[in-house]
Symmetry: C2
């Protein structure tokens, strides 16, 4: 039997999500926990990226992961094998998490012993961008097979993220994908966005994402 | 200058979307127009698939395409080159189309001269599945790089579609993707779903999708 818990998330009752999000961050700060919100389309490689990132950072931080999914628990089962603390959140059809739903997840996971918490949001390039989860930083993944025109079509997501991981660079030779175009389109929307090309499968570039996450976590914990 | 129109879609005011969807279908029937609703994640290849499908069917039907996107018009510009009638629908941040929004699109496109209309829905595997657009049939695309576990994670989408296109089969050798798994998971949710492997890029399998669409369109027009 799997060791992780499955939590059925309830619809939010708060009207002012931004205020709730600030409360989540204040609570995280008090508790000494950094929270990253990781977003992407379905199948961009969020879970595989997390696996590789946890492997790189697990000796330095106590890591906890919240796997949000509409219905299944396959991702929590994958992450559990890394040794990180994990909880599966079921959104019951909901297409995103807001701050109060994230707080339910944090309560369910239990973060007293966690330095670095990661929320794997529902696979969706539209709705999760509209809701501040209360995370300290936002990251997104765009994978090579999705195409280099995505910042044009899903501008809000690219605008609100601190980091853009370009995943599946190992298959670049088989797709018409211009790294220059993505960079140009994304920086036009968000001049400060940090872009890191990776292959979660081969591990290439994951160290650079781990470096960024290490620095951000330390900065948050020390502030 | 581009020849297609861009329509800013307004939020729906109807409470009973299912009733509105039935009205859309009745109107399509009266008008002699078949409407296909095409859904998928961002970057699965909806537009490329449409291009190849239009090329296969344009001598048999008058084809009209509604390209729904949050903000950009790149897809309508692509489809315009096929010679099909096209309109770009901007949802203004909305993550799906419902029946009344689809009716706005049909009115904007003008379907008196159209036998086969296709709605390319917003790239999103979650929300569009929840709203009947009024289309006669629903199709979805899952592309090989997204992974074979997607029916487990986005079950509603696979449940409501008549056809599942598995796109990008030309890159099957570079991904861990089991066609058998997808078939098993999808048919468990939806025993009647028709599964057609294609490569929109090379054209492989597109004739089979065109065959299905030809039969469905003819059946609708003759009924």
């Amino acid at each position: 039997m799997e060791g992780f818990r499955v939590l059925e998330i309830k619809q939010s009752v708060f009207e002012n999500n931004d205020r709730e999000a600030d409360k989540v961050r204040a609570e995280l700060k008090k508790n000494g926990t950094f929270l990253l919100n990781l977003m992407s389309s379905p199948g961009s490689g969020k879970t595989t990226t997390l696996k590789a990132t946890i492997a790189a950072l697990k000796d330095e931080f106590n890591i906890g992961v919240m796997e949000a999914d509409i219905d299944s628990s396959v991702d929590a089962a994958t992450i559990e094998k890394t040794g990180a603390k994990v909880i599966q959140l079921h959104t019951g059809g909901m297409c995103h998490l807001d701050a109060s739903m994230t707080q339910q997840g944090l309560d369910g996971l239990g973060v007293n012993d966690i330095d670095l918490a990661i929320l794997e949001n529902v696979g969706n390039l539209v709705c999760p961008a509209e809701f501040d989860t209360g995370a300290c930083k936002n990251a997104m993944i765009l994978s090579v097979p999705e195409g280099d025109d995505k910042p044009l079509k899903y501008p809000l997501m690219f605008s609100i993220c601190d980091v853009l991981l370009i995943n599946k660079i190992d298959v670049l030779p088989y797709f018409d994908f211009s790294m220059e175009n993505v960079e140009k389109y994304a920086k036009r929307l968000n001049p400060n966005i940090k872009i890191i090309p990776i292959s979660a499968r081969t591990g290439e570039g994951v160290d650079k994402f781990a470096d960024w996450l290490r620095e951000e976590t330390k900065a948050w914990l020390e502030k």
